[in-house]
């Protein structure tokens, strides 16, 4: 950040010096087996450079941005799920003292629509609104309250129409958008569809609309540039795709939109789509002044996409021994008003619909539809979460029908490397599903005596429940998904490395959204270059090419791979020069401890001296192996790699009140290789907590398209009394052949199987079918009543 905004809090610390304190404990699992990295390279338990500032409140989030003489932007949103706009009177708003601009759809300079997959979403409502919260007008003013009140003074003449809110009715309903109501239908036909099993089980399952519930609401600052361009500081997951869409809406060249990542307060998929990016830039270009926007908490619930609610019908066929014969499913995801990434989400939901099992035949119909509900898109687990709940519920049902142990049933069907998915793709990488199941299920079940401490009981601090009022259940689930983007998409990453005066500088536009790339990039550079001090340059569009999205569990692999390749390219240059100088072969030289050393021990030189002055640099693009589109039967090598996880949950349930206290969560995960143990634990704990939330409490409650709980008062996420410590029985380390250091992405798998395992535990405790998550107290307490009566 050389020019422009003055950030009052401390910017991200990126030099190695920042984390010496946290780096005391040397690398545990894996460090010795990878590269001689010292204690701060790949595999080591290096602390986050931004960790201490974050805990101390010194880290600058995007809401902390500040510039001289800036204006505050505010968005007027639709109160209606479906309406035509007959007219908008901005007169009173414009006349408000302190207001600098009021902008409408007609003021969008370039293309009016944007979108991740299809440009179907207007930057500002264009004659019509299709969901509650859709942006209609923008205001810039010299004070946030003035902007808010001016927005309230805008008079919009709405002709309200009946909203389409039933996803299942959407395909046959009158289109609510020129692109129609079916965003994507994906049909998978695999194997002998006439086959059938001796035992079949059937079920209908439902998943509610989950929110990513990040802590840092959407915020950013745009500054007009003299060349007619704009500089944008924003929290996002993918700088370059933002730039592409923003530039199109602004009608200017991409080079004129310069985006820098501002401090991100969580993402989980919610920052993949644009929120305020275009709006900020429009206001800045229109007023010629810097403009800042920060969504309020309730506005944030309207400002980003959510996890798709799902309705799923399933029929599993198996033989008497429990071997799966065929899986049939129909999956309907409610995509809300605009496409966002619904097409890719339904692909994941469908491709992984049968779970990590060998399934000779499958018929899956996946449907993502458009309604007047809030738009849904990316969220951690991306479609696999919904179908995991369904397929794991089915596996338990099947085990019960067969009189078989549910873990055993999963084991005999577990996929392995060399097996075929229902898309026909043969798994070529590692995929130790059976080992993950064995490790998780085989871990000793902790002996947790019933406790009289309220905090350990269902209902917690509410004092509702005595130990005698509870029953205990144990549930097990396993799930999987793809790593990286699929279906032919080339989601490459770019990185540059420069070594000068013995210090490495890494440049990559990978968005640090909390996953720990800032730590990992430094670890990789240390391992590859034998340096200690590594500077990570700001993530910007102007300095480097795209890193792709911080999603799909892909950045450790993709941007990690790009950083590794860039560092290696620099290493090759350095060693070539030194080898020429010393008259030896570069193969006999290594970089370590800030030195160039010959393996025969004869010669060494300081890297700082060799790289003095201009130094060495390299710039690379890293691509994963190409994938293919799915054909008309949903068959094809569409995915790069896969990862799985299993969870076992012990829950105490108060059936009379329908309250749940989880007592133990044990997990095992297919991780490829652990590159930083603490960060891995963080991903697993956080991902599991998000799954627990979906299983028991997290749901956006809709009433005719209106969000009824757009606040953290009523959209509740787990507290420490809802979320026990996670026991990691094992991370199963089978290095992935094509992945840098053999590491698989680990962010999403914990969220996939945890919800299903919690639901299974509550079922085991209560004996109720519970076909829907989140499981609400009434779903248990009243269902039991009905059963009893």
């Amino acid at each position: 950040m050389t020019s422009g905004p003055v950030v009052t809090a401390e910017p991200v610390m990126t030099t190695a010096a920042a984390n010496t304190a946290a780096a005391g404990s040397a690398g545990a699992a894996g460090a010795d087996t990878i590269v001689d990295a010292g204690t701060r390279g790949v595999g080591a338990d290096v602390g986050r450079p931004d960790g201490v500032p974050k805990v101390q409140g010194r880290f600058a989030f995007s809401s902390d941005l500040w510039a001289d003489d800036f204006l505050w932007g505010h968005t007027l949103r639709s109160p209606h799920a479906s309406a035509n706009i007959r007219g908008i009177d901005i007169g009173p708003a414009l006349a408000t003292a302190g207001v600098h601009a009021v902008l409408l759809a007609d003021d969008v300079p370039g293309c009016i629509t944007y979108g991740l997959e299809h440009g179907d979403q207007p930057a500002l409502a264009n004659g019509q609104v299709r969901y509650v919260g859709e942006p209609v007008a923008l205001v810039a003013a010299d004070h946030p309250d003035v902007a808010r009140r001016a927005a309230e003074a805008i008079v919009v003449d709405y002709e309200v129409t009946d909203p389409l809110i039933d996803a299942e009715a959407a395909p046959d309903a009158a289109p609510i958008h020129p692109d129609g109501n079916v965003i994507r239908e994906l049909i998978i036909r695999h194997g002998d569809l006439d086959s059938s099993g001796e035992v079949t089980v059937e079920g209908i399952y439902e998943v509610g609309m989950q929110d990513q519930a990040f802590m840092g609401p959407e915020s950013g600052l745009a500054l007009p540039d003299e060349d007619g361009g704009v500089e944008l500081f924003v929290s996002t997951q993918w700088l370059h795709v933002d730039r592409e869409q923003v530039a199109a809406c602004l009608g200017i060249d991409e080079e004129k939109v310069r985006i820098t990542l501002a401090g991100v307060g969580g993402a989980f998929g919610a920052r993949e789509d644009l929120s305020l990016q275009v709006h900020l830039c429009m206001l800045a270009l229109h007023t010629g002044k810097p403009v800042k926007m920060v969504y309020s908490r309730d506005e944030s619930f309207y400002g980003h996409v959510h996890r798709h609610p799902a309705k799923m019908w399933y029929r599993h066929h198996a033989d008497r021994d429990g071997r799966l014969v065929k899986v049939e499913a129909r999956i309907v995801l409610d995509g809300g008003a605009y496409a966002s990434s619904s097409g890719a989400v339904i692909a994941n939901a469908s491709c992984f619909a049968a779970g990590p099992y060998k399934v000779p035949a499958a018929h899956i119909v996946g449907l993502a539809v458009r309604t007047n509900n809030p738009p849904c898109g990316a969220m951690r687990g991306f479609g696999a979460v919904q179908t995991c709940f369904a397929h794991e519920s089915q596996m338990d049902k099947l085990a019960a029908a067969l009189g078989m142990d549910p873990v055993e049933l999963r084991l005999i069907n577990a996929l392995d490397s060399g097996d075929r998915l229902i898309t026909g793709q043969v798994i070529t990488g590692t995929f130790p599903v059976a080992e993950v199941i064995r490790q998780c299920a085989g871990a000793p079940v902790p002996d947790i005596p019933p406790s009289d401490d309220r905090r350990d009981l269902p209902g917690g601090s509410g004092r509702t429940t005595n130990a005698a009022d509870t029953v205990r259940g144990t549930g097990f689930a396993v799930g999987f998904k793809n790593l990286m983007f699929s279906e032919g998409y080339d989601d490459y990453s770019s990185a540059a490395c420069r070594v000068a005066d013995g210090v490495a500088t890494v440049t990559c536009a990978c968005a640090e959204v909390g996953q720990g790339f800032v730590t990992l990039a430094q670890q990789i550079a240390r391992t590859e270059l034998g340096v200690d001090e590594v500077i990570l340059a700001p993530a910007q569009t102007a300095t480097i090419g795209s890193a792709g999205s911080s999603s799909a569990s892909r950045q450790t692999w993709m941007s990690g791979g790009a950083v590794q390749a860039a560092c290696r390219a620099v290493r090759v240059q350095i060693l070539a020069d030194v080898a020429a100088d010393w008259g030896v072969s570069p193969d006999g030289l290594v970089l370590r401890d800030g030195l160039v050393v010959s393996l025969d021990g004869q010669q060494e030189a300081l890297l700082a001296q060799i790289t003095a002055g201009t130094g060495y640099e390299a710039d690379v693009e890293y691509h994963h192996a190409p994938t293919e589109a799915l054909d008309e039967n949903g068959q094809g090598n569409a995915h790069v790699s896969f990862a799985c996880a299993a969870h076992r949950v012990v829950a105490d349930v108060d059936p009379d009140l329908g309250l749940v206290r989880i007592r133990d969560i044990t997990t095992a995960q297919d991780v490829g290789r652990i590159l930083n143990p603490t960060q891995a634990v963080g991903q697993i704990e956080g991902g599991t907590a998000q799954g627990v939330g979906l299983a028991l409490m997290e749901e956006i409650v809709l009433d005719n398209g209106i969000v009824r709980n757009a606040s953290f008062t009523d959209y509740v996420i787990p507290t420490t009394l809802d979320m026990p410590d996670v026991t990691i029985a094992a991370w199963v380390e089978e290095p992935e052949p094509n992945a840098p250091y053999g590491a698989k992405g680990i962010g999403e798998p914990p969220t996939i199987s945890s919800s299903a395992a919690v639901a299974a535990a509550v079922r085991a405790a209560t004996g109720l079918p519970l076909p829907r998550i989140p499981i609400r107290p009434a779903d248990i307490a009243l269902a039991r009543n009905e059963v009893q009566q």
Binding site: R148, S296, D298, R454, R455, P458, G459, G460, S461, G462, R463, T464, T465, N466, D469, D656, L657, G658, L659, R661, L696, M697, V701, D703, R708, N709, T713, D714, V716, P718, T719, T720, L721, D722, R776, P777, A778, A781, L782, N785
Partner: protein
């Protein structure tokens, strides 16, 4: 823009309110600031009472517990007040998180008068008298006369809540509350139950299941007849269950985004049954 008077004594607070009767009282701000930040309220005049010593105290007088309006939840839980009014401490423990409990006050819970205000069922079950002061001098009233509707009180312009005076019965006190998770929740259903062995009565009041804070008077009268007060024996399951049903009849819950009427009615019955059993069990007194 609003002007703010920070009162340092009860007299200063009274004076400021007499001078500006339409002023809004600010205590811990845990309700008021949320409303202001959401643009729901824009007070022009504010009188801050968090530093009024007279409101921050509690004491026992004539065997009644007098709790100043400015007493915080943390104080209700951690001082000797927790022994004098155990159900109040139990309710306080269920409120929000530690920062909210450090700031939020009894007077603020009364002032907001939400059906989900967690101290309110306790006040109702302990026959609270609410003491207010203002231009018309001091007034005292029961909770029923103070909370007159959803988030509506009978406070008159310029009036200040000073204290709540509570019974100090000899029996056990119980507060139970259900929310959508195990801590930090707005009540979906709450219940306070108090056993008074001297008066040989049981008193039970409900939160979040009606527009006000209903007392289950019919159920109270019925169960008082069923209990063997002389022997101190526990209640049997049949009585406890029927009590639950009778208490539920005093509720008039609604469906909303937090829960359904059917669940709330069911839950109140379960809570009442359990509270009664606890209050008449031979075991240790309930924890806070």
């Amino acid at each position: 823009m609003s002007d703010v008077v920070v009162a340092r004594s009860l007299d200063e607070a009274r004076e400021a309110l007499a001078h500006q009767p339409d002023a809004t009282v600010l205590a811990g701000g845990t309700d008021l600031m949320v409303e202001i930040n959401r643009g729901l309220r824009r007070p022009r005049h504010v009188v801050g009472v968090a530093q009024v010593p007279e409101l921050r105290r509690w004491h026992i007088a004539d065997n009644r517990v007098v709790v100043g309006a400015g007493v915080t939840y943390t104080e209700m839980m951690t001082t000797a007040l927790a022994d004098a009014a155990p159900a109040l401490a139990q309710a306080a423990r269920t409120v929000g998180s530690p920062p909210i409990r450090n700031a939020g006050t009894l007077g603020g819970n009364l002032g907001t008068a939400s059906p989900a205000g967690d101290t309110l069922p306790v006040l109702a079950a302990l026959n609270a008298e609410i003491v207010v002061t203002g231009p018309d001098g001091e007034r005292r009233m029961g909770l029923d006369d103070f909370v007159v509707g959803v988030k509506q009180t009978s406070l008159r312009p310029g009036e200040l809540i000073v204290a709540a005076e509570l019974d100090r019965p000899t029996g056990r006190q119980e507060f139970l509350k259900i929310g959508p998770r195990n801590a930090m929740v707005i009540s979906m259903a709450g219940l306070a139950l108090v056993a008074d062995h001297d008066a040989r009565t049981v008193r039970c009041a409900l939160g979040a299941v009606a527009a006000g804070i209903p007392r289950a008077r019919e159920a109270e009268a019925w169960v008082a007849e069923q209990i063997d007060w002389a022997s101190g024996a526990g209640v049997d399951d049949g009585v406890a269950d029927e009590f639950g049903q009778r208490v539920a009849a005093a509720s008039s819950p609604i469906d909303d985004h937090r829960s359904t009427a059917a669940y709330r009615r069911h839950a109140v019955a379960v809570l009442a049954t359990r509270a009664l059993k606890r209050a008449f069990s031979s075991g240790e007194a309930g924890d806070a």
